[in-house]
Symmetry: C2
DNA sequence: AGGGGTAAGTCATACGTATTACTGGGACGG
DNA sequence: CCGTCCCAGTAATACGTATGACTTACCCCT
């Protein structure tokens, strides 16, 4: 007789000749001392044979926990956040947790969430790249912040922006560059504020180095305009290296260079940040800092799970890695003031 | 006295002076004829005042439905699938459904799913760009396939690949091109098979046109090699236009062109497919076909929800749109056989 | 021999909801 | 004036699990 609907723990009990409670004890792993090894084995065997899987809804109802975590990101329409998701989901799955992603832009508070009742339907929140108070509607829900202000109350996992920027500046300074232009993101997010500060600090540490900054939205066209402003008329005082807040903006810098007739890296060096697919697709390939987005998601989920278990996870900083490609080269002699 | 834990339907009942069943009826919207308008209003008011939200787990348990859908994609680490997710999640949210994404590559069957018991924890599956039999472990679960073989049993939403390729070929033919090279993806997926067939058909419709094809993996470096093979020694018979299976491969074609000293679009035209961010970041900007990824997800979710309601949704084909940018131009005269 | 202790299970219950079967009472028809 | 019908709502129950409170039977010790 074919089992038409899914087997329950009671079916397993019947098959093993025990009570439902015993099944629950055994499968819950808390049988030592309560159930004899022989019985436990019989139960596990029966469960296996029937292909029993516990009902998630029933378990959630009983335990008051859904074993689901919500990931809040600005968008999934960017490989970076996709990688964060994958890293987080991998770790979550290992602990029997599911992950629901929620892209932020249209987000207008808990009532607007994909879940009508976020406080109930999820056990915790992993929030990337957004202000902490944006989550004020989720009182009672444990939160871990990613790539956000570590000064916040919640545990935080960030990239070592400082180290990354210093690596870039050191690399360029070693090539003889002294006049830097910063194609900066105007987005009001901690990570970009941090990048700006880190860059300023790093440049300050280079004797005789100068830094000019122009802000732009996080897209190619706007970044191109900012880069053009930085390059100005192309006089002898123009920057010899453009440091961009992320890889996409670098593409704008490339366009600006071409518009000015400058060849990369001969006449101008350009750097990015993040190392997304685009970086290696550009011509020449982009020197940038690789941020381990997957690890960010994984480490964040790890912290969140510890938080859910009542622990008190600390904040964490993940190092980036300078990837030197073809967009950086020695500072052109010709652009230095030759005489006077 | 502050309400410490979440209000239940029983709390609402108490506050409104009715029974729990009445609350459930009213909030379920099936009260007309069973409950007086005045009472219904009182219940709704009480629910509002207490900030009542139904418990998802309890409802799932009762109804045997989780109101959650699983989205299976090859990866989220690609903007295309991120957009699919966003479109699907938007539609799902409007119907009170949540979406759990599951990246495919590590996928090894239901037991490996983020949910230990997929058949129970989800109501349906939206699967993108993968073979139907890959889901054989999910018997009993309704499935809608995206960008996959429409001949499959499950309802399908695809792009009009045929129309897109024809638009590209017509555009190029109008510019005088006759010798085409196809930088083809070697991935065994319906969409790429379809693109290959569609391209062959479209070229065949152009009198005197020829088509050569080289296969490559879906990354920049491999696509570059394939493009180099297509360009050969650069003799008079070389293709004047390279049609790539997607935008990323186009980046490889760009590199091949530069390696051969060919300028785009003067000496060589290049086209892509998909219109991801990269397309507009390349220099010159890429002529490609924009595929509405978000709409794909939305339409797929729409079909799936109808399927879950017992409907019988048909398959659907979404049109792409040719986006002409700077990578295509008139066929160079110099490359045509001048004499003989 | 009687009492206490423990090993090995079972019983009963609660989680919060949706729904079916039921009830009290008023209106209405004959 | 009595039977019938319907309105407005309620009581009871089931979904499948986890767990604290019980129960039994056996063993050991004095």
């Amino acid at each position: 007789m074919p089992m038409t609907s899914r087997p329950t723990s009671r079916d397993v009990a019947k098959a093993a000749g025990v009570s439902q409670s015993t099944v629950s004890l055994v499968l819950g792993g808390k049988w030592p001392g309560r159930v004899s090894p022989a019985t436990a084995a019989a139960v596990q065997d029966a469960a296996e044979r029937l292909g029993y899987r516990p009902n998630r809804a029933a378990r959630s109802l009983r335990l008051g926990s859904t074993r689901t975590v919500m990931l809040v990101v600005p968008t999934l329409n960017a490989p970076f956040f996709g990688a964060v998701y994958e890293g987080a989901a991998r770790v979550a799955a290992q602990h029997g947790f599911g992950v629901v992603a929620y892209p932020w832009p249209e987000y207008a508070g808990p009532a607007d969430s994909p879940f009508a009742a976020p406080d109930e339907a999820i056990d915790g929140i992993l929030a990337s790249s957004l202000a902490e108070d944006a989550l004020s509607g989720f009182a009672r829900t444990p939160v871990v912040m990613l790539d956000s202000d570590p000064a916040a109350e919640a545990p935080t996992v960030v990239f070592d922006v400082q180290g990354g920027m210093r690596a870039i500046v050191d690399h360029l300074a070693g090539l003889g560059h002294r006049r830097f232009g910063h194609v900066a993101s105007s987005i009001d997010q901690w990570t970009f504020h941090a990048r700006g500060r880190a860059l300023a600090d790093a440049v300050e540490a280079v004797p005789g180095a100068t830094l000019v900054r122009e802000d732009a939205a996080l897209d190619v066209a706007d970044a191109k305009d900012a880069a053009l402003r930085l390059l100005g008329g192309g006089g002898p005082d123009r920057p010899t290296a453009l440091i961009c807040d992320d890889d996409v903006m670098s593409a704008g810098a490339y366009k600006a260079a071409r518009a000015r007739g400058l060849e990369i890296p001969r006449d101008l060096s350009v750097t990015g940040f993040d190392d997304v697919l685009l970086a290696a697709a550009l011509e020449p390939e982009l020197t940038t800092v690789r941020l381990p987005a997957g690890e960010l998601g994984a480490a964040g989920m790890d912290a969140l799970l510890r938080l859910l278990e009542g622990g008190r996870p600390g904040s964490l900083s993940l190092p980036g890695e300078l990837v030197v490609r073809g967009s950086t080269g020695p500072a052109a002699r010709g652009t230095a003031p030759i005489r006077g």
